[in-house]
């Protein structure tokens, strides 16, 4: 991890945190109300560098709402978000992205008629010659950076010059994930990355997530897939009715799926979150 950090720090997207702690993301009392609906209530959440955390919960439990506040898709009602040592309140997804939070959306944010490098560099094209909107694209550099990103994430795509519409669902998802690796993001968020994929394609995506883990890239994974979460993550945070009701360390391997399900359904609540019930 340290090697990687050094490499990235020397690049054009500085990676070094101004804060000294190893916490990359923290939310304090994060709350979101839609009118009278309390979609998210007082969420205290911490993510350390290199950690992979799963967010689980039933539909409408507040998982997606929580992520939308962090990624700037929506603006939270109350609370604080501390990202990379700084207090942040993103006005839009682009600001979050510029700060280093990359999101793989449930609906793939890819342009079907463009090829892999075009998609990876969408909105942040590399240019040879600056001329305002008519700046000349540097196709060669973008291809090379794309290859680097694909190698880094372990994504295998037969032909990066092929358009996205010709690719399988798994390949598309891989491109979407590789995209997050292209820009040395500080935090990756994946919203149900394998929900629409077959067995083999799911395995491919899971391998990429393992690669990210080895490289020390922190990740928030929203998933309904218990096996996947148990396999890939260090910790499970369970949401229920807009509140966090459990924060379970699963690195020791002594936590069963049934136990997690009990938290999700409301059969159990961790003592420290009693007020949530």
């Amino acid at each position: 991890m340290s090697d990687l950090q050094t490499n990235i720090s020397s690049g054009e997207f500085p990676h070094d945190a101004p804060g000294t702690s190893d916490v990359i993301l923290e939310t304090r009392g994060l709350t979101k109300h839609y009118g009278g609906v309390h979609a998210l209530e007082n969420a205290n959440f911490t993510l350390r560098k290199g950690e992979h955390v799963a967010i689980m919960g039933d539909n409408g439990a507040g998982k997606s709402t929580f992520v939308r506040q962090i990624t700037g898709v929506e603006q939270f009602t109350r609370g604080e978000i501390i990202f990379d040592g700084k207090n942040v309140k993103f006005e839009n997804p682009m600001e979050a992205r510029q700060a280093g939070i990359e999101t793989v959306f449930q609906t793939l944010a890819l342009a079907d008629q463009l090829d892999v490098p075009d998609n990876l560099f969408l909105g942040r094209e590399l240019v040879k010659f600056k001329l305002g909107p008519f700046s000349i694209l540097d196709y060669k550099a973008m291809r090379e950076r794309t290859m680097e990103a694909l190698v880094k994430t372990g994504v295998k795509i037969p032909n990066i010059r092929g358009t996205i519409e010709r690719m399988s669902g798994g390949q598309r998802q891989c491109v979407a994930i590789a995209r997050t690796a292209t820009f040395h993001s500080k935090l990756t968020i994946m919203d149900e990355p394998t929900a629409a994929l077959g067995v083999q394609e799911t395995a491919q995506v899971e391998n990429i997530i393992r690669t990210l883990k080895e490289q020390g890239e922190p990740l928030i994974l929203i998933s309904h897939n218990m096996r996947q979460v148990m396999d890939l993550c260090d910790r499970i945070v369970v949401f229920r009715r807009g509140r966090i009701c459990a924060d379970i360390d699963i690195t020791a391997g002594d936590v069963t799926g049934e136990e997690v399900v009990a938290y999700i359904t409301g059969a159990k609540t961790q003592p420290q979150f009693e007020d949530a019930a």
Binding site: Q98, A109, F134
Partner: protein, 357 residues
């Protein structure tokens, strides 16, 4: 990465493996249509369509016909370049025909000569102080009119969220009205020699080719082009990627307006006169050229090369009908059928693409 076929880890980006460009299909269609007219010519007329069968020319091609084919599509072709980038961005522009009318009227008003055969210009719009101006003045005025119309289109579409169809339909009606209002319906004539020279001889063809090359390069090699495709392909993705979609759309429609205005200048210079009714239905012909050229009305797909080929198909069909001495009525009917056919083909192609996944 000097070895251009194999990248790291056996990943490839072999240019040869890319799918056959759809423009090639359009080219085949063009050749096929020419072939049909050649056959019909041989059987019905006893002469060749494109080749010199009567030994009237130095080359073996019928130069006169070739010139007419390209000359008659080059002015609408300039509009079609603008329509191409609008349609690639996922929009549609119905206003260019009317913008041509309005721009021609206004530009021509600034291009008039003071005296015609020793008498004062009978069609004068302004006083003598505004006559005999250098050609650059009407050109700049004309382009400004088109840019303003395109800007209004773009702002409406980007910021009020009305569909492009409605916004540009409004501009289509408004600009036509403004064109009639400008001189209360009177034609504007007698331009200066400098202005007229913009549209004489093969100038329209030359300008069409220059603009086509310029925009083919812009769409292929610039950030503007890439984002135009991206927005047409998946607008949400473009937005989530941080592209300022609204601002980009304003630019796309403004450029389309400028190109329509340029076509108007060329057209009025060619005809030596401007009338409020100029350019009626040009927008539909321009859209037809782009669709025939393989630009998808769904957005994200197509190219200027395709549109130029589409324009040529258009020209060949019109010339072919004249060559076969068929009535102009048939031309319009067939034109309509071709437009519908091209869209059906596009739908079918997309359906097949979706089925493959």
């Amino acid at each position: 990465m000097s070895e251009s076929t194999h990248g790291i880890g056996g990943l490839t980006f072999d240019a040869k493996k890319r799918a056959r460009p759809p423009e090639l299909n359009v080219l085949f269609a063009l050749i096929l249509i020419i072939g049909v007219f050649e056959l019909l010519g041989a059987f019905l007329m006893g002469q060749s369509f494109l080749f010199d069968s009567a030994d009237r020319f130095d080359s073996f091609l019928n130069e006169a016909r070739l010139k007419i084919i390209i000359l008659q599509v080059s002015i609408i072709g300039i509009i079609a370049i603008g329509s191409t980038q609008v349609i690639i961005s996922g929009g549609i522009d119905l206003s260019p025909g009317s913008v041509v009318g309005l721009t021609a009227m206004i530009a021509m008003s600034f291009a008039q000569v003071a005296e015609v055969n020793g008498n004062p210009n009978p069609k004068a719009v302004f006083g003598p102080a505004w006559m005999d101006l250098p050609a650059i003045v009407p050109l700049v005025v004309g382009l400004s009119v088109g840019i303003a119309a395109g800007l209004i289109n773009g702002l409406l579409i980007a910021y009020t969220r009305i569909p492009p169809f409605i916004a540009t339909l409004g501009m289509m009606v408004t600009a036509r009205g403004a064109a009639k209002w400008w001189t209360k319906g009177q034609p504007v004539s007698f331009p200066t020699e400098g202005y007229a020279s913009i549209g004489q001889g093969m100038m329209p063809v030359l300008l069409f080719i220059l603009l086509a090359v310029l925009f083919a390069l812009i769409l292929r090699f610039t950030v503007y082009g890439k984002r135009t495709y991206a927005i047409g392909s998946n607008e949400d993705a473009a937005r989530m990627s941080g592209i300022n979609v609204a601002r980009h759309k304003v630019l796309v429609y403004t450029i389309a307006g400028a190109l329509a205005a340029f076509a108007a200048v060329v057209l009025s210079a060619k005809n030596l006169t401007a009338q409020a009714g100029m350019g009626v239905m040009y927008e539909l012909d321009a859209i037809a050229m782009t669709v025939i050229g393989g630009v998808s009305l769904a957005g994200g797909r197509g190219s200027i090369v395709g549109t130029v080929l589409g324009a040529l198909i258009f020209g060949v069909i019109i010339s072919g009908f004249t060559f076969l001495r068929l009535d102009a009525y048939y031309q319009e009917m067939v034109k309509g059928a071709i437009i519908v056919g091209a869209v059906v083909l596009d739908q079918w192609r997309q359906g097949r693409m979706a089925a493959k996944m």
